[in-house]
């Protein structure tokens, strides 16, 4: 395979790969292209097959069906060590009896690299990860963040073009997680490597990824850059999974008839609205199509306030919705409010299979409104 061809073709190609475990979980007929030098995040709830996908790429699992191609070579049945990749484990998988330096160069030693080269690569890896001075410590003598950096150093020391990461931040506390997120992203760009990163944390995915691959039940739900996922979720599941707090999803039957686009069938329709697109008014029926709701609680987070409301449905059930208002909003539970939104901000999904439905009616624009007590809530314009 020539260099030219590998440059134009995707770095990793997964072709119709299945790996099914006893009990039916795993991945089913998965196809995926990962470009060279990209930061790709496999995102999804637990049991969605994201870790299995990563382990298939790593070679720790063998595909039942389909092919996996890395850098132009078919590696479907190649052992992990021959695939030219490194991996950071969730537990870090550091060897507890070896020092930091020995852990980092373990692979180089196994591969019988020259002594001088081992030494220079070790120095470089220690420098890049800021572990100088910790060479002789044992993993047990390190903090969680330091252990994480040792795992990173071990992953980059060999200079493999591909690095796989399996929830590498889940054992860190929230503050450290934020800092390491940035470090990993910087490192990936500086070393110009391809990273495939598994997480269930959508914040991590949104903040780090070039491409997010959202998975559910062993299948791909949506592939796209973080903005695509947020602004145009392909399914109701994607809409609910990405974003914090998540998008409010309600059956369209709970809505006033006149807000539903005419071309859609209200009986099998799900309506979605991002919390920041939802506007509250304490004057009931301020808009003719305002939806009535009752405040159930609120959370003040400094720069913004989340207000939780219950929308009474036609048949006695209530739908829960969240509104994100900027600044501090004091609103006591039980307050009757009227909800409204810009027509363009509404997302419509098929009520049965959850697929996104595109609405292109001229009547949408006519419903635009600006009157709200949450004055300066920015619209995410599509």
């Amino acid at each position: 395979m020539t260099a030219q061809m590998t440059d134009t073709s995707p770095f990793i190609q997964i072709n119709a790969v299945s790996r099914v475990f006893n009990g039916g979980s795993g991945v089913h007929d998965l196809s995926l292209d990962i470009p060279r030098g990209s930061f790709v995040v496999l995102l999804g709830p637990s049991g969605c097959g994201k870790s299995t996908t990563l382990r298939l790429i790593a070679g720790l699992e063998t595909a039942d069906q389909g092919r996996i191609i890395i850098d132009g070579k078919d590696v479907t049945n190649t052992p992990p060590s021959k695939r030219g990749l490194s991996m950071v484990f969730q537990s870090y998988a550091l060897f507890p009896h070896l020092s930091v330096a020995e852990n980092i160069v373990f692979g180089l030693k196994v591969r019988k690299t020259q002594k001088a080269e081992i030494a220079s690569r070790l120095t470089e890896a220690l420098r890049v990860t800021g572990l100088e001075g910790f060479e002789d410590r044992k993993p047990a003598q390190l903090s969680g963040g330091q252990r994480q950096r040792v795992a990173l150093a071990r992953a980059i020391v060999a200079g493999h073009p591909l690095c796989l990461m399996d929830e590498p931040l889940s054992n860190l506390d929230a503050k450290l997680r934020h800092a390491v997120r940035k470090d990993i992203r910087d490192l990936q760009q500086r070393l110009d490597i391809t990273v495939v990163y598994v997480t269930h944390d959508q914040t991590e995915a949104m903040s780090m990824a070039d491409i997010v691959i959202l998975m559910k039940d062993g299948r791909i739900e949506q592939v796209g850059n973080p903005a695509d996922l947020y602004l145009k979720p392909a399914t109701a599941f994607a809409a609910g999974f990405v974003g914090s707090p998540p998008m409010t999803l309600l059956p369209a039957t709970a809505l006033p008839q006149d807000v539903i686009p005419k071309e859609l069938d209200a009986s099998r329709l799900t309506f979605g609205i991002r919390p920041e697109d939802l506007m509250l008014s304490t004057k009931p029926d301020a808009q003719p199509w305002g939806m009535r709701a009752t405040v159930t609680g609120s959370e003040f987070l400094g720069a913004e306030t989340f207000v939780f409301v219950a929308i009474p449905g036609k048949h006695g059930e209530t739908g829960d919705a969240t509104a994100r208002l900027s600044g501090r909003v004091e609103i006591s539970p039980g307050t009757e409010v009227s909800l409204s939104w810009s027509g363009a901000a509404a997302h419509w999904f098929d009520g049965e299979d959850g697929h996104r439905l595109t609405v292109t009616g001229p009547d949408i624009a006519a419903r635009e409104t600006t009157t709200t007590i949450a004055t300066d809530t920015a619209f995410s314009t599509l």
């Binding site: 070679g59 720790l60 992990p80 060590s81 060897f95 373990f106 196994v110 591969r111 044992k138």
Partner: protein, 297 residues
């Protein structure tokens, strides 16, 4: 100082002593006192009705060193320990790795390996007595099938000790396997996967990761095997009675013989003290030396 705090501290110390008291009393009665009494006893001559026992200093110890049987028994025991300890540890490790792997009928394999340990020693020895029976025993039946002449495995000096050694290995390896099995199950599978990705094969992983992580278990098993090798007596009663011509006589059997067959308790006491001394020194040295090179989690 606050009176209440002082009282509470004293109370805590009292609780400590109270909790330690039963074990301390039993240990003193059945271990410490007998050890000291044995040492004291070993310093006197053997008393008879005509010649009462007198203080003899370390004369009994001198007698032991002058006795050629002492050297035979010591050599036997060294060979016995030198073979049974490493071989049963290696077997235990291999069996544990095997029983820990994802194989069908795993629990059956585990219990099969452990069976020899469950059997009473006397029963096991009788079983092996049958195996070793010249001409009729299982071993001679098999070797005879290939045309070998019958061998009196337990009855000739050349093979007696080796036969006893084999029985011990058969008995101990399964027991030590349990410790290795427990240790192996605490090693996270991630380590193996990380090693695989780094290019380590099965052997490299075993040598560079698994064995060092099993080191604490190995020390524990080693010390136990060590103590067992001087403690062995019941097999000998059934299998060889130390013979022929002392060829399979081990220390504890010799001590028993001196004390209860020849009624020479001062010499038996002296020998016991020597054994205690050597075992103590070896145990201390082992824990000291190997601990330095061991990683405890």
């Amino acid at each position: 100082m606050n009176e209440m705090a002082r009282l509470q501290k004293r109370k805590l110390a009292l609780y400590g002593w109270m909790l330690a008291a039963p074990a301390l009393a039993l240990m003193s009665l059945f271990a410490f006192y007998p050890a000291i009494a044995t040492f004291w006893h070993s310093l006197f001559t053997r008393g008879t009705s005509r010649r009462p026992s007198v203080f003899a200093g370390f004369e009994n110890y001198g007698d032991l060193f002058a006795d050629p049987t002492f050297w035979t028994v010591a050599t036997n025991n060294l060979i016995y320990a030198g073979v049974t300890i490493p071989v049963s540890i290696i077997f235990a490790l291999i069996m544990a790795l095997w029983a820990n792997a994802h194989i069908p009928a795993r629990s059956f394999v585990r219990s099969a390996y452990f069976t020899p340990t469950i059997l009473p020693m006397i029963a096991a020895a009788n079983l092996w007595l049958f195996f070793y029976t010249p001409d009729l025993g299982v071993i001679d039946q098999i070797t005879g099938f290939f045309g070998a002449s019958p061998t009196n495995w337990l009855g000739q000096p050349e093979t007696a000790l080796a036969s006893v050694i084999i029985v011990t290995i058969w008995k101990e390896a399964g027991f030590f396997m349990i410790f290795y099995l427990a240790a192996l199950q605490t090693i996270p599978p991630d380590l193996r996967e990380a090693a695989r990705i780094e290019g380590a094969g099965r052997w490299t992983y075993t040598r560079r990761v698994l064995l060092p992580l099993l080191m604490p278990t190995t020390i524990f098993v080693f010390v136990n095997a060590m103590i067992n090798s001087v403690k062995l007596i019941d097999h000998l009663f059934i299998l060889t009675k130390g013979g022929p011509n002392n060829a399979s006589k081990l220390i504890l059997y010799w001590i028993w013989e001196m004390a209860f067959a020849y009624f020479d308790s001062p010499h038996a006491a002296a020998m016991t003290i020597l054994v205690l001394l050597v075992l103590g020194l070896v145990a201390v040295a082992q824990f000291r030396l190997v601990e330095k090179r061991t990683h405890y989690r």
